[in-house]
């Protein structure tokens, strides 16, 4: 097997009584564009910090490009765009990029990085006078410099308007199309859906789903049927086309299905089910459901 861009096993990290990361295993192959999706406090930033070597796991280990995070950073194999801060207000945009470039052995030209990130026109502006979106593009330019194998972005478009977000992601995709690996954290569902090849859903420090955006959407886009059906045959119901899960609570059955009509027809024509109720839920609902505190794990083949 080729060297993984990220290989994490059994990552745990607690802050006092809070288990920020509670057993995460993940393997990201070179060339993948992966979204780490989850609500605030799900452990996204903590996971990223451990992948970057900014923090050490209490238990478990992480290898980046087949080496320790620190070594990968020193070789310029990994670059990161952090969530906030991290810029000096009294440098110009170009100076910031030039200073960063001076730290890498192998680097793109300052002009190229600024052009790709779309900040060539504000090269002489003081960082302190740049808008939030411009500062974020500056961070992106800095991360572009070493032409990293792995680019890590923590909530990269937080605070950007729709247009800014679209431009930012266009630039990221352009770069990723050259074969690099991208791992980004976000709590915007649409962002994960639109820009990632693979979505890892986090909740309370654990992975609750891992799959393509289509699969995650599938988890989300179905409908729930609820019916009263004493003595329901769980296996038979689960075997119906489009059924994802069957839950039996006493006399009640809860069925998650993509083809709710077929399931309803079956229930009403071949079983004794009554009080059939169908509720649709959208992507947002599913996201909330999957990441809610009492949600059960959902496994998706990746």
């Amino acid at each position: 097997m080729a060297t993984a861009a990220v290989a994490a096993t059994g990552l745990h990290k607690s802050f006092g009584p809070v288990r920020a990361v509670d057993g995460i295993d993940m393997r990201i192959e070179p060339g993948e564009i992966v979204a780490l999706l989850g609500p605030n406090g799900a452990g996204k930033t903590t996971t990223i910090e451990m992948i970057l070597g900014l923090s050490h796991p209490d238990r478990g280990s992480v290898a980046v490009c087949g080496m320790s995070p620190g070594e990968a950073i020193r070789q310029g194999l990994v670059a990161a765009v952090m969530q906030t801060g991290g810029l000096l207000k009294d440098l110009t945009v170009a100076e910031t990029v030039r200073l960063t470039a001076s730290l890498f052995v192998q680097t793109r030209s300052v002009d190229e990085a600024m052009r790709r990130a779309g900040i060539a026109d504000i090269a002489d502006r003081m960082v302190g006078r740049c808008s939030g979106g411009q500062q974020q593009r500056l961070r992106f330019a800095m991360a572009l410099l070493p032409d990293p194998e792995l680019m890590i972005l923590d909530e990269p478009t937080a605070g950007m308007d729709v247009q800014g977000r679209r431009e930012f992601w266009t630039a990221i995709r352009q770069d990723a199309d050259r074969g690099g690996t991208v791992l980004f954290a976000t709590h915007y569902l649409e962002e994960a859906d639109a820009y990632a090849d693979r979505v890892i859903l986090l909740r309370q420090g654990r992975i609750v789903a891992d799959g393509t955006p289509g699969e995650i959407r599938g988890l989300a886009a179905g409908r729930t049927l609820r019916a009263v059906l004493p003595g329901a045959d769980r296996a038979a119901l689960a075997a119906l086309p489009g059924v994802r899960s069957v839950e039996i609570r006493g006399d009640q059955v809860l069925i998650q299905a993509t083809d709710s009509d077929a399931v309803a027809r079956h229930l009403l024509t071949t079983t004794a089910a009554r009080d059939v109720e169908i509720t649709a839920h959208n992507l947002e609902d599913a996201f909330i459901e999957l990441t809610a505190d009492d949600a059960t794990s959902v496994a998706v083949a990746s």
Binding site: A2, T3, G31, G86, L88, S102, L103, G179
Partner: protein
């Protein structure tokens, strides 16, 4: 998804930068950034010259002396030391700002090693310290201070040594006071240190008690040593002990806090 069309490239190891990432481009940008900070420049370059012009004694040219040396020359060396202290402290204390802004953290996701970062901070402080000494000495030359060439050079270099001591002090304070306004505390603090160390005013104008206390303050040793070539007193063991002791204390303190900071997770 467009990445279906892309071919993943195998990951190949790369070289690590020499000297932990230390380089002159970084140093140059840091110095320029420091000189852009008006408050730092006023405090560490302009103020010492203004003090010199205020404290020197133009009316009795050739008459008045301090410790056997011409007043103007003595005051010039004093303010060279003061300038080096002020400049290097404020430059070293920039780490406080950089930590507050998250810049130190950003640098940790680059190949720059912590020790190289520290070397750049101290060297930047030394450059500003040198500038401060040179500006005061030029003001001295313009206003008629005359010393032998060797005394000019030696006292200039020794005054500059103060920067080496106080750059560590600045870094130490930068870690102790994690504030963007760290200079609001350090400005008065360095001025006090210079005053009670006999750098801003000759110790003889202070009382005996103060003269005794002065010998244990951090600016006293380097003040004595920097004046030695001018007054021809030689280098006293007490002054050297004071200089080495405080330097060791500041470097050790800065190193400990720096270590704690870089290991913080």
């Amino acid at each position: 998804m467009s990445s279906d069309a892309t071919v993943a490239r195998p990951i190949a190891a790369r070289r690590v930068p020499p000297l932990g990432g230390f380089n002159v481009t970084f140093l140059g940008i840091e110095v320029r950034r420091l000189l852009r900070n008006r408050r730092t420049v006023v405090f560490s370059v302009v103020l010492p010259v203004v003090f010199y012009l205020l404290f020197r004694n133009p009316s009795r040219r050739g008459g008045s002396t301090i410790e056997g040396a011409h007043v103007d020359a003595f005051v010039m060396v004093s303010l060279g030391v003061y300038g080096a202290i002020a400049a290097s402290t404020s430059a070293g204390a920039m780490v406080a700002v950089e930590r507050a802004l998250g810049w130190s953290r950003q640098l940790r996701v680059t190949p720059l090693r912590p020790l190289a970062y520290m070397a750049i901070k101290v060297l930047t402080a030394m450059v500003l310290g040198a500038l401060s000494v040179v500006v005061v000495f030029v003001a001295g030359a313009v206003t008629g201070v005359s010393m032998s060439a060797s005394v000019w050079i030696l006292s200039g270099l020794l005054a500059w040594c103060a920067a080496l001591v106080f750059a560590s002090f600045g870094v130490l304070m930068g870690y102790l006071l994690p504030s963007e306004n760290v200079m609001q505390y350090l400005g008065p603090l360095t001025t006090l240190a210079a005053f009670f160390g006999g750098v801003l005013v000759p110790l003889t104008v202070l009382g005996a008690t103060f003269q005794n206390i002065a010998q244990y303050t951090p600016a006293w040793g380097i003040g004595q040593i920097a004046h030695a070539p001018l007054v021809g007193s030689g280098y006293s063991a007490g002054a050297i002990a004071n200089l080495l002791g405080w330097t060791a204390a500041f470097v050790l303190g800065a190193a400990l806090l720096f270590r704690r900071d870089t290991q913080r997770v």
